[in-house]
Amino acid sequence: MKTMMKLFLAGVALAGLFAAAQAEDKPTIEIMSSWTSGGEAAALNVIKTEFEKRGGVWKDSSIAGFGAADAAFQNRIVAGDAPGAKQGVIGLAAADFVSQGLFNPIDDVAAAGKWADALPKSIHDLISYDGKVYLAPTGAHGESWVFYSKEAFGKAGIAQEPKSWDEFFADLDKLKAAGVVPVAWGGQPWQQTKVFNMILLSQVGIDGFLKIYADKDKSEASVEGVKKTLEILGKLRGYVDAGAAGRNWNDATAMLITAKAGVQFMGDWAKGEFTVAGKQPGKDYGCMIAPESKGMVYIADSLWFPKTGKAATDKAQKLLAEVVMDPTVQVEFALKKGSVPMRSDVDKSKLDACAQKGLELMSAGAIVPDQAIVLTPQQVGALDDFVDEYWSGGSNDAASAAENFFAIFE
């Protein structure tokens, strides 16, 4: 009996050894993301499939909700149990982690893949810290989009896309008269801030926008631009329905899909919802850049690679970075996610009409960064508060609100 027991124990130990050896061989990664909606999960799956094809082992720890995933990630980092990869935006949020020495650089992968040539210079600068590449960009989203329901436009007798804000408001009046909710408004602070930004860009132009957010410029021109933006924003209040407060962006998109509402201001991820509902861009719904806007606000997603101290994970991080920047993966991912590929050397023919418009603006350099790229999380929060307070406070005093705007940078 005793020998049997010994044999058994030895067997278990041996099996454990083999299992460990096997796991050691394969690059294993635990990836934490907040991509859980239909389109997002499908996009993440593109990366996963290619990663596994190249011999990696993929462990998914996705958490619904951007904030929830971030909170869980911070807790894991503080607890010393970082996941192998985390999806997050390119911007100052990542910079904090890098400056604390918590992320692994992926410089050699970037050098081998010639990322510097494949990516727009502004993006390459943003993913590098102290001359080393740290983040693997997955795709960019345009955030200056106004989507519209062709059916609703038809009902209201609107033949073509409005070119100026005056024409835009005239069309909203027509929609209202036709018994359609003119604007499907997502009444959450982050969504309202995106609308504020796209109007701001249309009022101050690319240079003016960068001056305000990157240089924190308080000159008269900047204040005037913010004031005009707030006036347009305030005017929009008259065109939303009573249920707008707190509405999710995808619920707002659903109002367009069912032709209950005319237009929605949103990032291009809204296309994912149209696609899931079987709607075609250009046929069932249209996409236009906000009126009078010469460019597009963009936000970029990436994968972050925390230090885990495990060799298998380090190997996997390099493999994953390679996979993410693969040209076919970039296109496939963009199609599923509704985004624009980061590489400028990919096959554009597969992209839909909206994405092509976005890619055009991007390669022309007519883009400005989202607030998350240039502002700290505290400042982003303060900006959300500012816009929300103006929007829901019902104040029409744009001039004095514009003066207060610059307090968000403090």
Binding site: A71, A93, Q188, G243, A245, G246, E389
Partner: protein, 295 residues
């Protein structure tokens, strides 16, 4: 004597883990948080001390001030509402009605639900395009308005409404148990004196329910400080700052805004607030007990 000491010793050993948890987990983390509130920590704890800078920033924030005011309004109305409604329900059930246990279950049921569920249900019901307003309008009353969750002035009362709906059942059960514990003789005596029923409840039953209602009130008040989930589910602090609460402010700054210093300053103020509110009460209790002991 030696047996007693031995017993004490084993009791002390048995209590050690609890002491350890209380000192390290409770007081330790509290001290840690308070320490952080004097630093300029953002995403990670830092040890650069900035004095009371986080506190002055905190009290310059309109959002924080609004959250304090909101939790006060919510707290007072929620606790009072639950106590009044709970007592009325208990008195009604006490009238030897038919299907009493069925009603009791129904009234207590909301309390078994999580605040997130309660919040979502009421959010839908009070949402003007989905809920009660939309259904009444579809029945023909076109001018009917019930838009509490999206109305800046009424949103906080929508929270109170949902909270009372959830919490009243608990008070009812505690009050009912108290009422049932009162001797039937008192009823008979009052009846003989020809005192009306409502007067019996107000002047005879209610005073005897004091301790039971105080316990229920205490339970509810503790819930008020932590109010977070119902706000997130119903209004997410909006419209504007109309339903922002301290717990949500702290969570937002802790995670979303990566502002550890400000969040811990808020938490410290909250703890201080609780201590200031509870201390006189505890002191009064202590004095009363001593007075009793002396008598």
């Amino acid at each position: 004597m030696s047996i007693k000491r031995k017993r004490n010793l084993s009791a002390t050993i048995a209590l050690l883990p609890t002491w350890f948890a209380a000192v390290v987990v409770f007081i330790g983390t509290m001290a840690w948080s308070i320490r952080l509130s004097f630093t300029n920590s953002t995403l990670f704890p830092s040890s650069t001390y900035v004095g009371f800078a986080q506190y002055s920033k905190l009290f310059a924030s309109a959002k924080w001030l609004a959250s304090l005011q909101n939790v006060l309004i919510f707290g007072v109305l929620y606790v009072a509402g639950c106590l009044v409604l709970g007592f009325l329900l208990a008195a009604a059930l006490d009238r030897k009605i038919r299907f009493e246990s069925a009603f009791r279950t129904i009234f207590l049921y909301p309390y078994a639900m999580s605040f997130v569920v309660t919040g979502l249900i009421w959010q839908w019901m009070l949402n003007p395009t989905l809920g009660i307003q939309a259904s009444v309008r579809s029945l023909g009353w076109e001018s009917f308005v019930l838009d509490w969750v999206v109305n800046r002035d009424m949103a906080i009362y929508a929270l109170v409404l949902a909270g009372v709906w959830q919490g009243a059942g608990l008070v009812m059960v505690i009050a009912l148990a108290g009422i049932r514990g009162i001797e039937a003789e008192q009823w008979k005596a009052a009846r003989i004196d020809g005192i009306p029923v409502w007067r019996i409840y107000v002047s005879i039953i209610l005073p005897q329910l004091g301790p039971a209602l105080a316990a229920a009130g205490m339970l509810l008040a503790m819930g008020v400080i932590k109010t977070y989930d119902i706000v997130v589910a119903m209004t997410n602090g909006g419209p504007g700052n109309a339903t922002e609460v301290p717990a949500k402010f702290i969570m937002d700054n802790l995670f979303g805004r990566q502002n550890l210093g400000l969040a811990t300053a808020g938490a410290t103020v909250l703890v201080l607030g609780v201590i200031i509110a509870v201390a006189p009460f505890r002191y009064a209790m202590h004095m009363r007990n001593q007075a009793k002991g002396a008598a």
